[in-house]
């Protein structure tokens, strides 16, 4: 028996088949491992959520807090009722879908407008030092003003209605978008920039092939933070200058002392916000970061 036979390694001419089997095994192993990881994450996440819900249910019942902190089962029942109720049966004007769609439209209008202005501006500021030195102090001075503080001025400038709410969303989400894009563009590795130039990238091609892909992780982070901010601000804006939308719904239910409706509206905002984030930012992320395999520098 030769050495190869003893250690069980195939002769050279038969190597291709076992090698491809090993590759398949490895791929299967990776797939299985990923599935297990996903399952583990799901179970742990669900366990966390269920623990909170259980604690909430017990606390609400033991301390008799159902009017201040309605138990999750009551809230869940109310969410279902709210999603199936018609206009004529409901206290809060049009049905929940109308409220949600109006809020969604306002939030998205402010968000998209801010993205269209803030991201290019951030990229330009990040790459042009002179302009950055001129503009950043002024931008940083305005940044600490909370979004809600813009509401009275927004009403004064744009009147009561959607434009004021959209402006408030714009004012809130503009800064995280701008700062992230600016930081991303400013912090691109000089090696990457030099490599791009060496390959002849100039002007627009330099921007679209080098600067933009390198900045994408930062822009995505900015979009994610801003989208959450847009939903937070839409609620505040609609409480003051609207007669529909989820913010209005929250305010009306507060004046009706219906904590269960308040919590239902909050849960629906959370669900729609989560879905929006997954749909918009998730899609952009897939089409950029994952496609280009870009890493932050």
């Amino acid at each position: 028996m030769n050495t190869i036979d003893r250690i069980g390694v195939a002769p050279a001419e038969n190597l291709a088949a076992p090698y491809s089997r090993t590759q398949q095994d490895f791929a299967r192993h990776v797939k299985l491992r990923n599935r297990r990881t996903r399952l583990r994450r799901f179970i742990r996440g669900m366990a966390g959520i269920l623990s909170i819900l259980l604690a909430w249910q017990i606390m609400s019942q033991i301390l008799d807090l159902d009017l201040l902190l309605p138990p999750p089962l009551t809230v869940l029942r109310n969410v279902i009722v709210t999603l199936t109720v018609s206009n004529s049966q409901w206290l809060y004007g049009p049905n929940i879908y109308v409220h949600l769609s109006h809020s969604f439209l306002r939030a998205m209008t402010g968000f998209v407008l801010a993205a269209v202005v803030a991201i290019p501006l951030g990229l330009v500021l990040g790459r042009i030092t002179t302009l950055r030195e001129f503009m950043m102090p002024a931008i940083q001075a305005v940044y600490p003003i909370p979004g809600i503080a813009w509401i009275p001025l927004a009403i004064l400038w744009f009147g009561l209605g959607d434009t004021a709410v959209v402006f408030v969303v714009f004012a809130t989400v503009f800064f995280p978008l701008l700062f992230n894009a600016e930081a991303g563009a400013r912090l691109i590795s000089p090696t990457v920039l030099d490599a791009g130039r060496c390959f002849g990238a100039r002007g627009f091609s330099f921007f679209f092939r080098i600067v933009l892909p390198a900045t994408v992780p930062y822009i995505i982070t900015g979009l994610r933070i801003s989208l959450g901010g847009a939903w937070r601000m839409i609620v505040a804006g609609e409480m003051l200058a609207s007669q529909d939308g989820i913010g209005y719904l929250l305010m009306e239910s507060r004046f009706q002392f219906r904590a269960v409706d308040l919590m239902t509206a909050m849960i629906l905002v959370a669900l729609v916000g989560y879905a929006t984030e997954k749909l918009i930012v998730g899609t952009i992320e897939k089409r950029t970061i994952e496609k280009w395999e870009v890493q932050p520098y």
Binding site: I155, G161, L240, R254
Partner: protein, 336 residues
């Protein structure tokens, strides 16, 4: 007398004076109110004319901004306040939730204004139009909050005509009382439903006209009797301190009597101070505003017939609710 006894004399004297002082100390109560807001001015008249101190009460003031009526009620529910001025519909809303849950009612209205004081002001370019002409127009009407007393009264009026706000092509927008006039002047609003002060300011600025007034009977004869200013209290506190509660309502009635008998100039000054308005504006408002309280069983019933029924019809309050779930007339001192 030894040295220790000599030293004890001032200590005993100090302690006895403290005991004596405690015996005459006023009862401390926590009172919340909308401020600045003309609707709650009776509180300030009582304070300035010494009505509370004469009734042995030491009032700790908890102001809430205009439009934040619910915040005061929330404090009352959490036992953070003993009494609250400026809400009435909210009392029914809050108690209804407790009634639906089969719990003990937490609050009640114990006193109320003698005038309803709801005004519907429209911009001058709508002058001459009737409600039927206006109902199909796209109007923007300002309110201080979605459960505004004025809106409920207006809804009650619409009920008498077999209508609801859904039959009107109007937008009801919430904004603070002080912002209503600028919004009307800048054509952001076509009108508003609010109190006598905002109405007077709009009339003085020639920005609008009085389209409807509950005091004139434009919203129905029974609406004239509905108490405008609501004074409510925490039921647990009131049950434990009935004497304090009586003295509190008595203080407000004493202030009402003083308002009637005192020189107008003095009252104008007090009301101007409370509402942060020029005395000339208060003078102009005088004919359309009466801050006095004097809840009667008839007024409570009128409140229920008008506002209560409007809230019931809209599903805002429980069908099991009755007038006694909103009012506690035990402290009413002028029964009809």
């Amino acid at each position: 007398m030894n040295r220790r006894s000599l030293l004890a004399i001032p200590a005993i004297a100090a302690l006895s004076s403290l005991r004596g002082h405690r015996a005459f100390a006023a009862d401390r109560i926590r009172v919340g109110m909308l401020k600045p807001n003309i609707v709650t001015v009776i509180y300030w008249i009582a304070t300035k004319t010494g009505a509370f101190s004469r009734n042995g009460l030491d009032v700790v003031e908890y102001p809430f901004p205009s439009g934040q009526t619910a915040a005061g009620i929330e404090q009352l529910l959490r036992n953070g306040l003993d009494f609250y001025l400026g809400a009435s519909g909210e009392v029914a809303h809050a108690n209804s939730r407790y009634l639906e849950a089969g719990k003990k009612l937490p609050i009640a209205l114990v006193e109320g204004g003698i005038a309803s004081g709801t005004f519907f002001v429209l911009r001058n370019d709508h002058k001459g139009k009737s409600l039927d002409e206006l109902r199909s127009m796209k109007l923007r009407v300002g309110l201080s909050n979605p459960s505004s007393f004025h809106l409920i009264l207006f809804r009650a009026f619409l009920r008498t005509r077999n209508m609801t706000t859904k039959d009107l092509n109007w937008d009801f927008l919430t904004l603070g009382g002080p912002e209503m006039l600028p919004a009307l002047v800048s054509h952001q609003l076509d009108g508003f439903m609010h109190d006598a002060l905002t109405t007077t300011l709009a009339l003085q600025a020639n920005a609008g006209f009085e389209f409807m007034s509950s005091g004139n009977g434009d919203m129905g004869q029974e609406a004239k009797l509905v108490p405008g200013t609501g004074v409510c209290g925490n039921l647990a506190f009131m049950k434990a301190n009935p004497d304090v509660t009586r003295r509190f309502t008595q203080s407000l009635r004493d202030a009402s009597a003083t308002y009637q008998s005192a020189p107008k100039a003095d009252m104008v000054s007090i009301m101007g101070e409370w509402s942060r308005q020029d005395p000339a504006v208060i003078e102009a408002m005088y004919p359309r505003f009466d801050p006095r309280v004097g809840l009667t069983e008839a007024a409570a019933q009128a409140w229920w017939n008008v506002l209560g029924q409007a809230m019931l019809a809209r599903g805002e309050i429980s069908q099991r609710m009755t007038v006694s779930d909103v009012f506690d007339l035990d402290y009413v001192q002028q029964k009809s």
